[in-house]
Amino acid sequence: MAYEVVLVDTWVSMFGMRVRIALAEKGIKYEYKEEDLCNKSKLLLKINPIYKKIPVLIHNGKPVCESLIIVQYIDEVWNDRSPLMPSDPYPRACARFWADFVDKRVYDVAKKVWTTKGEEQEAAKKEFIETLQILERQLGDHPYFGGERFGFVDLSLITFYSWFYAYETFGNFSIEAECPKIIAWAKRCLQKDSVANTLPDQKKVYEYVVQMRKRFGVE
């Protein structure tokens, strides 16, 4: 059976998870293709020749790249159900700002937490916590970043939760101790089927990171 929607992704990618949550929120059936990033397929090189990265969504044969761009595309095409973005321009601008903040600030510093040691790692941990604390302040007393409903910013950040155990173990710190509101928010998001069914087990991600550290020669 030919699917009109195909997702090229890898199970452990927090960027790919964003797209899977969006597709689940909208109830879209799709074909999933797992990529081995150490041995990229001809398909991936064809559909994303510029970055050669996942995730890539192929809809009716046309590829869309970059996770937050894909999520906005999904929201615009399947606009008859479960909106992911606010409907008014100013809240939409705020949502884009904070999702952009997550993209710019969380990934790189979090990666340093598990790929570095000593002083560099300490500095990365400090910056990671400060970044989550900024997000905590933005969350305030709302249940979600989207206000009363799970939305674009929640989706952009929650996928990092599956990597928290790995960050905590290699960084030797507790995210809950430093940012309890973020953990409470994450557990709230996990009550949603789309999130719970998408996020891989934290221990499985940890095992993957153990392998990656060996490959990067961090040990």
Partner: protein, 222 residues
């Protein structure tokens, strides 16, 4: 007149992108020049997270980050659209805007580099220009198709700014023979009346960028 203010700093390319969008849509605004070495209370209040320009303040509500500002402008003032209607074409435009943002450090490395590092940065910058020309622009007159769009604004710095950077560094990146389509785009872009009237003055930019490169080189060696 809607209460609209733009906090900017000359000759920031990011600020010019917002200026171009507003001018192309015929939207009136008040421009406030910020001194980035002595940031105003307003700037810190309106953009406490990044403390950067540009910031658009509409009816007292601030919008920060250039790409976010441009999408906001597009939604509030839909006349002379800068983004396609079709979701796939829109996704492509967003892709190229993000590409420009991701890759601009490479051009910055070209600007501030010396010696071997400079050679490496020059090579990488030329490879990026090739990708931009072949895949981004293709055979189109503008990145946006027949008329200027958000992607043209994103690459707008390839016009007035790159020439000045090249002159200061003493290396030509975007040679007309090597990048004929980008060269043609450059001409068309600068000919648009709204762009032409809103480009920073070359004679003012030259000493500014010369001094900036000297400072960057000095701080790299200390």
């Amino acid at each position: 007149m809607e209460e609209l203010k733009l906090l900017g700093a000359w000759p920031s390319v990011y600020c010019y992108r917002v200026i171009w969008a507003l001018k192309l849509k015929g939207v009136k605004y008040e421009y406030v020049e910020e001194d980035l070495s002595n940031k105003s209370d307003h700037l810190l209040q309106y953009n406490p997270v990044h403390k950067k320009v540009p910031v658009l303040v509409h009816h007292g509500k601030p919008v920060a980050e250039t790409s976010v500002i441009l999408e906001y402008i597009e939604e509030i003032w839909p006349q002379n659209p800068l983004l396609p209607n079709d979701p796939f074409e829109k996704a492509l435009a967003r892709f190229w805007t993000k590409f420009e943002e991701d890759k601009s450090p490479a051009f910055f490395a070209f600007f501030r580099g010396v010696g071997e590092e400079q050679e490496k940065a020059t090579k990488e910058a030329k490879q990026l220009l090739k990708i931009i020309e072949d895949h981004g622009l293709g055979e189109k007159k503008f990145f946006g198709g027949n008329k200027i769009g958000l992607v043209d604004l994103a690459f707008g710095w390839l016009s007035a700014w790159l020439e000045v950077m090249e002159e200061v560094v003493g290396i030509k990146l975007m040679e007309a023979n090597s990048f004929p389509r980008l060269e043609a785009w450059n001409k068309s872009f600068k000919e648009d009346p709204m762009i032409k009237e809103n480009l920073p003055d070359r004679d003012e930019m030259l000493p500014y960028f010369k001094s900036l490169r000297e400072k960057l080189i000095a701080s790299a060696t200390t």
